[in-house]
C-alpha cells in the first residue's frame, strides 16, 4: 500500500490543476483570515471608541454634579447638573471571541447602545443601518465560508475520479488482477488527496488563530478555537465519509462528479435555503411595522393624556408631590411617556424573542437534514456571532435601561438632582460571553453528528468496496 500512496503523492504533486486548486483554497482561507481580522478589529475599535466616548461624557456629567455638591458651582448656575433624567451609559457587546473566523450576523445587528431614559426601549438601538445593502446581501468571505463551502468543492475536485478514472480507462480490472484489496487502493488514494486538504485546513485555521489575535492568542480565544477546530474537523469528516461513499458506488467519473456536486448543492444551498424559508414560514416574526406603530400609538396616547398619566403617578407616589418644582415639567412627562411605551411594547418584544426561540428550536431539530446549516450554526455559536447571542444582548440592554430607571426614578419624578454617591451607584453594563462549558454542551451533539455521518459514510463505503472486490464488472 505504501507503493500506492507514494505513487498517489507523486501524481497529486504533478497534476498542476490539483496543486493550483489546493493553493487557491489556502489563498481563500488566508484572505478570509486577514479580512476577518480587519473586520473584527474595526468592530472592536468602533465598540471601544463608542464606549470611551460615552464614558467620558458620563464622567464630564459627573464632574458637574461634584462641582455643585462641593459648592464650587452654585446650584442655580447649573440647574441641570445631576438631572436624573440625563443619566446615560453605553452598553456594548464587543465582537465575539472568534468573530474573525465567522462574521455570522454581526454585520446587520447593532452592537452598541446609548442607554438613556430619554429613549423608550424601542429606540435604544439608533441609526446603525448604514452598511451597503449590496454587501450584506452578498455575504462575506470569511474562514467559515472557506470551510463550509469551498473546502467540500476542493475535496470533490480532487477525489471524484479516485476510482472511476481507473474504471473508465479499464485499469481497474488490471489492478484487481493483482493481489490487492480495492478498499486499500481507494483508501490510499483518498488518504493522500484528502490528507492534503486537511493539512491546508489545519494550517489555515492555525494561521487564522494567530492573525486574528495579532499575536499569541489568549485563553478564551484558544478554548473557543479548540471547539472551532473540532467543528471544522467534524465537517471535514462528514464530507470525507460522503466522498468515500460516492467513490465506492463505482460509477463513471462524470456520474460520480455530478452526484457529488448535486450533494454539495443540496447540502449547501438548497438545504439551508429551504430550512430558512420553512422556519420563517412556520414561525413568522411579528410585524416590525406593527411594533413600530404600537410604540408610536402608545407614546402619542401617553403624551396626549399626560395630565392623567401624571395624576396617576402622583396617586401612586403621594410622597413625590413636591412644592417649588424647578425642573421643567416636560422632563418628567417624557419619563412617564417613555415608561408607558416601555411597558406597552414589552409583550411585543417578548413575542419577538419567543419567535426567535421557537425558530431556533425548530432549526435545532431540522438542521440535521442539512449538515452545512448545522455546521454553520455551531460555528457561529462557537465564534460568538450567532443570532441567539445578539437577541440576548438586545434583551439585556433593555433590562439594563430598566435597571437604571429603577435606580433614578424617584429623583426623576421628584425633579431632584442625583447625589455623587447615587451617580456612582448607577448600574453598569458588561456583556458576558457564554462560558466555554455552555458552548461545548450546545455544540457537542451537532459536531458529534457530523463525525457520526462521516463514519456512517465510511462504513457503507467499505461494504460497497468489499463487494466490488469480486464483482466490479457488474457495477
Amino acid at each position: 500500500m505504501r507503493a500506492i500512496r507514494k505513487h498517489e503523492r507523486r501524481a497529486l504533486l504533478q497534476d498542476r490543476i490539483q496543486v493550483v486548486l489546493l493553493g487557491l483554497f489556502a489563498l481563500i482561507c488566508l484572505f478570509g483570515s486577514i479580512r476577518g481580522a480587519q473586520y473584527r478589529e474595526a468592530l472592536e475599535e468602533a465598540a471601544a471608541a463608542f464606549e470611551t466616548e460615552h464614558l467620558e461624557r458620563a464622567a464630564d456629567w459627573r464632574a458637574r454634579v461634584v462641582a455643585v455638591e462641593s459648592g464650587d458651582v452654585a446650584p442655580e448656575d447649573d440647574r441641570f447638573a445631576g438631572l436624573a433624567m440625563d443619566v446615560a451609559r453605553p452598553a456594548v457587546a464587543a465582537p465575539g471571541p472568534l468573530a474573525d473566523f465567522s462574521h455570522g450576523v454581526t454585520d446587520v445587528h447593532p452592537f452598541t447602545s446609548r442607554v438613556s431614559l430619554w429613549r423608550s426601549v424601542d429606540r435604544l438601538f439608533g441609526n446603525y443601518q448604514f452598511q451597503s445593502p449590496n454587501e450584506i446581501r452578498a455575504g462575506r468571505i470569511d474562514v467559515a465560508f472557506a470551510v463550509l463551502f469551498v473546502m467540500p468543492l476542493l475535496m470533490i475536485a480532487l477525489t471524484f475520479g479516485a476510482l472511476s478514472r481507473d474504471r473508465d480507462s479499464g485499469r481497474l480490472g488490471l489492478l484487481l488482477s493483482h493481489p490487492v484489496s480495492v478498499r486499500a487502493v481507494v483508501r490510499s488514494k483518498l488518504l493522500v488527496r484528502l490528507g492534503a486538504v486537511f493539512a491546508i485546513l489545519v494550517a489555515a485555521l492555525l494561521a487564522g488563530l494567530f492573525i486574528g489575535a495579532g499575536g499569541v492568542p489568549g485563553g478564551e480565544r484558544l478554548g473557543r478555537f479548540g471547539f472551532w477546530f473540532l467543528a471544522a474537523s467534524g465537517y471535514f469528516a462528514f464530507w470525507t465519509g460522503a466522498i468515500y461513499w460516492f467513490v465506492s458506488l463505482n460509477r463513471k467519473s462524470e456520474t460520480t462528479a455530478m452526484m457529488m456536486i448535486g450533494f454539495w448543492v443540496l447540502n449547501g444551498l438548497v438545504g439551508p435555503a429551504v430550512l430558512a424559508a420553512a422556519a420563517q414560514l412556520i414561525h413568522p416574526a411579528p410585524s416590525q411595522l406593527a411594533f413600530l406603530s404600537t410604540a408610536r400609538e402608545v407614546s402619542n396616547e401617553a403624551y396626549r393624556s399626560r395630565a392623567d398619566v401624571m395624576q396617576g403617578m402622583l396617586l401612586d407616589h403621594p410622597e413625590l408631590t413636591v412644592e417649588n418644582y424647578t425642573i421643567p415639567e416636560y422632563i418628567r412627562v417624557s419619563y412617564l411617556v417613555n415608561e408607558t411605551v416601555d411597558r406597552a411594547v414589552e409583550p411585543v418584544l417578548e413575542e419577538f424573542e419567543a419567535v426567535q426561540d421557537r425558530r431556533q428550536s425548530f432549526l435545532s431539530l431540522v438542521q440535521y437534514a442539512a449538515p452545512a446549516a448545522l455546521a454553520m450554526r455551531s460555528i457561529n455559536e462557537i465564534s460568538g456571532t450567532d443570532l441567539a447571542r445578539q437577541v440576548r444582548f438586545e434583551g439585556e440592554v433593555r433590562d439594563y435601561k430598566r435597571a437604571i430607571a429603577r435606580h433614578v426614578e424617584a429623583r426623576v419624578l421628584a425633579g431632584e438632582r442625583l447625589t455623587v454617591a447615587e451617580v456612582d451607584a448607577v448600574p453598569t453594563y458588561t456583556f458576558r460571553e457564554s462560558g466555554l462549558g455552555a458552548v461545548g454542551r450546545s455544540v457537542v451533539f451537532p459536531v458529534g453528528y457530523l463525525f457520526g455521518l462521516g463514519l456512517l459514510g465510511a462504513a457503507l463505503a467499505r461494504r460497497n468496496l468489499a463487494r466490488l472486490q469480486t464483482r466490479f464488472r457488474e457495477a
Binding site: 468602533a46 446603525y128 449590496n134 467519473s253 449547501g268 429551504v274 430558512a276 400609538e297
Partner: protein, 477 residues
C-alpha cells in the same frame, strides 16, 4: 436537421433519469420559491398598509402640540414592496422599509427584514430569481457537457458527420433542446410569479408588463450565455469528463463564488465608513455647528438673527412679527440639510464605488451582471432603494418646513409655547411614493447589460471556436 437533433435530444433527456430528477428538483424549487415570495411580499404589503393607516391616525389625533414637537415625533415613510419582488426580492430584505421623517436628522431606513431572519438565510435565500440564476446554468451544464464530447467518445459524432451533418447544425440542435427546456423553466417561473403578483393586496410597479418582458429577455440571454459556453467547452474538450469538470468550475465561479468575492474585494478596496462612526458624524455635523456653544455656531445663529431682523426691518427679536424660534429652527433645518446632502452623497458614492468594483467581477461571473439587471428591473435594486430614500427625504424637508412655517406664521411671540391642534394635523399631506418607471430603473445598469451582451458574444465565439477546432480535431483523429 436542427429540429431532428433537438427532438432526439429531448427524448434522450426524458429517458435520462438524472436529467429528469434535476429538472424536477429545480422546478419544485422554483415553485416553492414563488410561494414563499408571494407569502412574504403579501405579508409585507399587508403590514405596510396597516402601518400607513395607523401612522395617519396617530398623526391626526395627537391633540394639542407645538408643531416643532410634532416634527420631532413626525411621521414615517414606508417603502412599498412591489409585485415584482415576488420574483426577485433583490435587496428587499437588506434595506429597511421604514424611514423616520423626524426634524433635524436624516435617518437611515430602519426595520430591515434580515435582522429578523434566521442566520442560515444568509447562506442562500430561496426566491425565483435565485433559482434561475443559480440552477438554470447548472441544469444547462448537466444537459450539455456531453453535447459534443460524449458524442465523440461514443463514436456517434463520426457517424453523424459521415452522414453529412453540419457541425453547426449539431450545435444549434443541442442548443435548441437545452434552451427550450431551461427556457420553459424560466417562463414557467415567471408566469407563476406573474400569476401570484396579480393577487390582491400587492402593489403594482409602474411598467410591470414591460419589466416582466425585459426580465424574460434578460434571463433568456443569461441562459443563452451558458448554453453556448457549454457547447463550446464540450466541443473543445477531449473527453466529456473534462468538459464536465471544466463546466462545474465555471458554474461555481460564476454563480457561487463570484457574486460573493466581488463585493468582498470591493469592500476591501473601497472600505465603507463604519456604521457607528457615520451615525455619530451625522449626529454631530448636522447639529453642533449650528446649535453648539462654539464660536462658529454662535456666529451662525447671530447671522440668522441679523437676516431675520433685516428681512422684517425691525431692531429687536421681540419686534418681529413672526415666531422667531420657528424661524431659527427652520434655519437650522436648512443648514443640516446641506450637511446631510454632502454626507449621504458620500455614503451613496461609497456604495457606488463598491458596486463598480464588484461589477468588474462580472467579467468572470455573468451572474453578477444578471443579478444587477434583474434587481433593477424588479425594482428591488440599490437605485430603487435610493430613489425611495431620496423621495422620502424630499418629503421630510417639505413636511418639516410646513410644521416650522406653521409655528413661524402663527406662533407670534409664544415661542415654544405655541400649539396646534388636530384640525391642523388633519390638513397635513401624506407621503405618496411615486415609484420610478422602467427607464429610470435601467439607467443604473446599462453597464451590466453591456457586460451581459459581451458575455453572450464571447460564449458564441467559444461555441464557434468549438465548431471549428473541436470538429476538425475529431475528424483528423
Amino acid at each position: 436537421m436542427i429540429r431532428a437533433i433537438a427532438r432526439k435530444e429531448l427524448v434522450q433527456y426524458w429517458r435520462d433519469g438524472r436529467v429528469v430528477t434535476v429538472f424536477g428538483i429545480v422546478a419544485l424549487l422554483g415553485l416553492a420559491a414563488t410561494v414563499t415570495g408571494w407569502s412574504a411580499v403579501s405579508a409585507m404589503e399587508r403590514e405596510r398598509r396597516a402601518a400607513v393607516a395607523m401612522d395617519r391616525e396617530i398623526w391626526d389625533t395627537q391633540g394639542l402640540k407645538n408643531p416643532h414637537t410634532a416634527a420631532h415625533f413626525s411621521r414615517y415613510a414606508f417603502q412599498p414592496t412591489f409585485n415584482l419582488a415576488v420574483f426577485d426580492p433583490g435587496l428587499t430584505d437588506y434595506v429597511g422599509n421604514a424611514i423616520w421623517l423626524e426634524a433635524h436628522y436624516r435617518d437611515p431606513a430602519a426595520l430591515r427584514p434580515v435582522e429578523d431572519a434566521v442566520e442560515i438565510q444568509r447562506i442562500a435565500q430561496l426566491n425565483p430569481a435565485w433559482v434561475i440564476q443559480v440552477f438554470g446554468p447548472l441544469l444547462i451544464f448537466i444537459l450539455l457537457y456531453g453535447a459534443v464530447a460524449a458524442e465523440r467518445e461514443s463514436g456517434t459524432l463520426r457517424q453523424l458527420l459521415a452522414a453529412g451533418m453540419r457541425p453547426v447544425s449539431l450545435l444549434l440542435g443541442k442548443a435548441l433542446s437545452a434552451f427550450s427546456l431551461t427556457g420553459l423553466l424560466v417562463c414557467s417561473v415567471l408566469v407563476g410569479s406573474a400569476f401570484v403578483m396579480g393577487a390582491e393586496g400587492i402593489e403594482r410597479l409602474p411598467d410591470t408588463g414591460l419589466r416582466t418582458a425585459a426580465l424574460a429577455a434578460l434571463y433568456l440571454v443569461y441562459l443563452a450565455i451558458f448554453v453556448f459556453l457549454a457547447l463550446g467547452v464540450s466541443a473543445l474538450s477531449s473527453r466529456s469528463r473534462t468538459a464536465l469538470v471544466g463546466l462545474m468550475g465555471v458554474w461555481i465561479i460564476a454563480t457561487v463564488l463570484g457574486p460573493r468575492i466581488g463585493p468582498e474585494v470591493a469592500g476591501a478596496l473601497a472600505p465603507a465608513p463604519s456604521a457607528p462612526e457615520f451615525a455619530a458624524r451625522l449626529d454631530q455635523e448636522g447639529a453642533d455647528p449650528f446649535w453648539g456653544a462654539g464660536e462658529e455656531a454662535v456666529q451662525r445663529r447671530q447671522r440668522v438673527m441679523d437676516a431675520a431682523l433685516a428681512e422684517y426691518g425691525v431692531e429687536t427679536v421681540e419686534a418681529l412679527p413672526i415666531n422667531y424660534d420657528g424661524y431659527l429652527l427652520q434655519a437650522s433645518e436648512e443648514f443640516a440639510n446641506g450637511v446631510f446632502d454632502t454626507m449621504y452623497a458620500e455614503l451613496w458614492g461609497g456604495y457606488e464605488r463598491q458596486r463598480a468594483i464588484a461589477r468588474g467581477f462580472a467579467l468572470v461571473s455573468p451572474t453578477i451582471a444578471a443579478q444587477n439587471v434583474s434587481m433593477a428591473l424588479a425594482g428591488t435594486g440599490i437605485h430603487a432603494y435610493r430613489h425611495f430614500a431620496d423621495e422620502a427625504e424630499e418629503f421630510r424637508r417639505e413636511f418639516v418646513l410646513l410644521l416650522n412655517q406653521e409655528m413661524i406664521d402663527h406662533g407670534g411671540a409664544d415661542g415654544y409655547a405655541y400649539v396646534s391642534g388636530n384640525d391642523f394635523w388633519r390638513q397635513n399631506p401624506d407621503f405618496e411614493y411615486p415609484a420610478p418607471g422602467i427607464g429610470d430603473a435601467v439607467r443604473g445598469v446599462w453597464a451590466d447589460v453591456i457586460i451581459l451582451l459581451l458575455w453572450l458574444a464571447i460564449a458564441i465565439a467559444v461555441a464557434a471556436l468549438g465548431v471549428r477546432r473541436g470538429f476538425l480535431g475529431e475528424v483528423a483523429a
